[in-house]
């Protein structure tokens, strides 16, 4: 059994890693840390884990974590990971980092969008979107697990961009996220009376996931510019993006769908829906699938609409992190990730 650890295991992504790893047959959870909850059993924070996992949070130096583990997940906030990851790597531990700290090729972009100086600018990571970077992930010491919005939007756009059939500088990505994406810390926008019966656009032109989206999409067309507007909707889990693109050539819905079908043919976690079907959040709730559908064409207006959906905590965070671990360690990619979506 490979020994894995989780730094920052008391948040939502930490809890979700535990839920998934508890069903993984190739790894042993050797260590989970939380400063605030040190000493408490995991189930006191993640009540679904009662009787499922018999582990308690610890508050120990990262060197000690490294000694006890072969691979570590950093489920730590932006800014914290860059302080921790170098130590872990120095101790020869492989790392999957769920923060934004190592996702950028250009550190200046990170510093601009995250508003902080990077303390480990020379450390390189593979960008952990297996559908694009499986080969680099396999041999990486450090994998930077993608953001939830980028996962949904990049997977929804790549086949169109690769085929060169859309107007790359005029892409609109209107995304709607469940509120667990904001983490487990109560704040004004997540207060139920504010968040229920509400839809709220935020960071309309300046969300930190925008440069991540564009970095990856520009591998397919250097002209890509995305009008990305995130919204929070009264949903616990789930993230869906409506991708409005302008076509540069005539295409039928079936032809568009075929681009996706072919691009994702061998992907275990991308499901391409039939023409006319729209992804439903319940179909992916709790599961690692990305569902992509829509494929609506408005010939008169020369546009195509594609819709993608994920569970923001699974394919948008911890599920993808485990998928990356599986690739890094040579396990079957689906191992631990066979949970079926909770519908309805």
């Amino acid at each position: 059994m490979v020994k894995v650890g989780i730094v920052g295991a008391s948040g939502y992504t930490g809890g979700e890693l535990l839920r998934i790893l508890a069903q993984h047959s190739e790894v042993e959870i050797a260590c989970i840390t939380s400063r605030m909850h040190a000493g408490k059993p995991a189930y006191k924070v993640h009540p679904n884990l009662r009787r499922v996992l018999n582990l308690s949070f610890e508050d120990i130096p990262y060197e000690r974590v490294a000694e006890r583990c072969d691979l570590v997940f950093c489920a730590t906030p932006h800014g914290a990971s860059m302080e921790i990851v170098p130590t872990l790597l120095e101790h020869g531990v492989r790392v999957v980092d769920l923060s934004g700290d190592f996702r950028f090729e250009d550190v200046a972009v990170y510093e601009r969008y995250y508003g902080k100086k990077h303390v480990a600018p020379d450390i390189r990571a593979a960008y952990g979107l297996p559908e694009l970077h499986r080969k680099e992930i396999r041999r990486a010491e450090l994998v930077a697990n993608p953001g939830c919005y980028p996962t949904s939007i990049i997977l929804g756009l790549v086949p169109l961009l690769k085929a060169g059939v859309i107007d790359a500088p005029h892409i609109v990505a209107d995304a709607k996220s469940g509120i667990s994406g904001a983490g487990n810390k109560p704040r004004e926008t997540t207060h139920f009376p504010n968040a229920a019966e509400s839809v709220l656009a935020y960071k309309m032109t300046a969300h930190q996931h925008l440069p991540e989206i564009e970095q990856e999409l520009r591998r397919f067309s250097s002209e890509v510019r995305v009008s990305f507007v995130p919204h929070i909707v009264p949903v616990i889990r789930g993230l869906t993006s409506t991708l409005h693109c302008f076509l540069t050539q005539e295409l039928s819905p079936e032809e568009v769908r075929k681009l996706y079908e072919e691009y994702y043919m061998n992907e275990p976690f991308v499901r391409v829906l039939d023409v006319g079907e729209v992804p439903r959040l319940s179909a992916v709730r709790g599961s690692n699938f990305t569902d992509i559908g829509g494929f609506a064409i408005d010939g008169e207006r020369e546009r195509v609409i594609v819709v993608s959906a994920i569970d923001n905590l699974v394919k948008g965070a911890s599920g993808q992190a485990v998928q990356n671990m599986n690739i890094m360690l040579g396990f079957r990619e689906e191992e631990g990730l066979r949970s079926v979506g909770i519908h309805p």
Copy 2:
């Protein structure tokens, strides 16, 4: 007191007309009809009206409705209104029709999008968006009350189009509607286990409100083409549209806001938010206001984001219908419409 009637008063827009008219000091509700609920007191269908309104539904010929009323609201479904309105007009009654039947200048557009032959193609109506057509509404015999999506999207775009600062053929309107917009008849998509914890795009390129939106916006630029995608979100009431536009000239958020401030300066029911503020559904819940905000500029990508919000049953339907009535009858435009939004 002017005598008004409501044909089809048992649906959500009928109930909302009753709620509003019950607080109106210049009219008397002379007659409410419902085939299905004939004989029942209104409060048996609209439980909020218990003790508020002492009226029962009737099932009587439209001629009889006309005899008893000075003005009639048709809260009837698409296709039914065109059968009823001619009779009412012939009897000299003024009409506000909440269906889509009389919203189009070109009957062929109606027939294409609504999938039915128009039986009264020669009857002309004023398009009941007071912010654009107050003068025609004042003297109209028939007002075609706008759809909920068009109200939100048209009001959100007109100042930009009028100023000629956006790329008219590449407008994206990504709209999110509460589920009451689908009416009071249970169906699969409105079944709670399907609708809760969900966001669903539908009629992605073919919604019947699209030609209505373009008809009105083309008064400002003949080149307008709108990528309109409606979604249902787990909200009872409220509709918000995120309007993604590409700028044709450099503008600051303040300059954009000023276009709105000036355009709506004298409008009683449009509130222009401050730069950086995003409309909240609770601010308009139960009220006739349209809130417009956002005004985010991404200079690098030359785009502007504007967000508008209404209560789909009030400014998006029955409130606007009463506003139209007030204009037609020369009442104060706010009469009966002073309810403040229910926040939170």
Copy 3:
């Protein structure tokens, strides 16, 4: 115009007082205070008030509030009111206090359940439930506005107790409250991912509203003991109580209903539903009504079920406070409180 002030006007009950008073024709809002938001316009905190109320929060000494007002609402937290109210009363201002500080005849009960020493134990207030204490309220200098749970439960039980037909020591009141009842401060239990898709019993035997409920019900039977369990449910506004009572004599549903009909015959804000009807939260949402229904009898098990529903922020707080003010000042009791419930 009578001049009124609100101390602590930035919370939910403060906002709701403003929404209601903005529609009141006999009073002028002379002063609203908030320490945290001093200087800000009210609409920045309560976005529904934009264009409706042109007032800003102030942070001024209570003496100054007293000078400018004839009547003051204290929408301050438990413990704060008892520090403020004596000053206001000394200055000859009449007060409606929305906290729990002055609701108890026996200060020891307050101190036990609220866990703090009372600093003004000699000040007497009328308990502001008009259906029970209209006469005392009329002449009171200080009215202690009831809690939301007590309002719903007391009104739902009094006719049965008065008639002496139930087993007073074995009453079960299982209550479900919307989350706005917890105030506007985000906390773990109100965090959307925790509160949505959830029902949570809390303070199962020790809620501070329990002694308030029993104090009032014991006016009708000294043996009353209530098994009161409050729950939070994923609802913004609304509070409903299911009252399970054991009958001491045989009664039909119609006979039970008649007890309510007679008891509340002249009450402007209590609606007694028909036998078999159950109150719906949407019928009272935003309105000052209490709806009471159910009236189900299980003869075999000798029990009766009554269900009552209110909007926790209106009849359960600010609406009732204005109703009390209307009584104190001799206005029509419905003044300002004619808003019809927002259904759906």
Copy 4:
């Protein structure tokens, strides 16, 4: 591999059986039937099953189902099962029936509460609550899977009744169910605008689960009478019951908890919470656990409050059905049922 079939596989409980059985290593799904969806792949109805299960609905005679299966789940409505089960049993197939048709020892009780004549009154079934009837289930040809409310309420009350510490004729069970419990057919009460922001008591004294609850509880005290009031709350999945009991002797919370701990010591699917903890629906969402907590004592009022929670579609239906199958077929009881709850 044992061959299993599902009759009526297109409903919510059918879909949930498929989700669970897809993760079961000892059975093969040989046949799924649906009259309405015959010919369609299962994932067209249950979108979570896309790529997970490659099966289509059939519409074939029950004899044919029997020939292809060793064990059949009837996920058919009340009244339909009693027409089907006899045929299946005659063909030597073992059956788990999820309807109410075979839950009663006294057919007259069934006929009274379900309002129909029983067509197979002589067929006996084991009542499929493993915590009470594991031995009979093991050897049964037919298991009657319990209702969701009874599962939650019976498990929550048995330790108290067995210990003889509560007043058996005065038990109050106030239960709150998610809306998936009403099935997948849209109706007025499940229409989102009615069901959201709402709590609704229904069948207050006459729910068909009441006699089922009392039948099982009377095994422990013949005097049991339960005031059972079910409510629907705006939750997709999850059911929680607040059990109000009057104590006949003094007990501490720890003593009460110990009764539960001991009673359920060896049960794989009952988790007894710590004193003061209240079960959360997210802890059981998607899982087969029953969580029991509360254990609050109000000595003054001589009462004890216990709260239990399940996922109504899992332990309340399909998960328990698979647990029963595992017992009948001698599999490990947890097989296929290891999914961890989806929290948050």
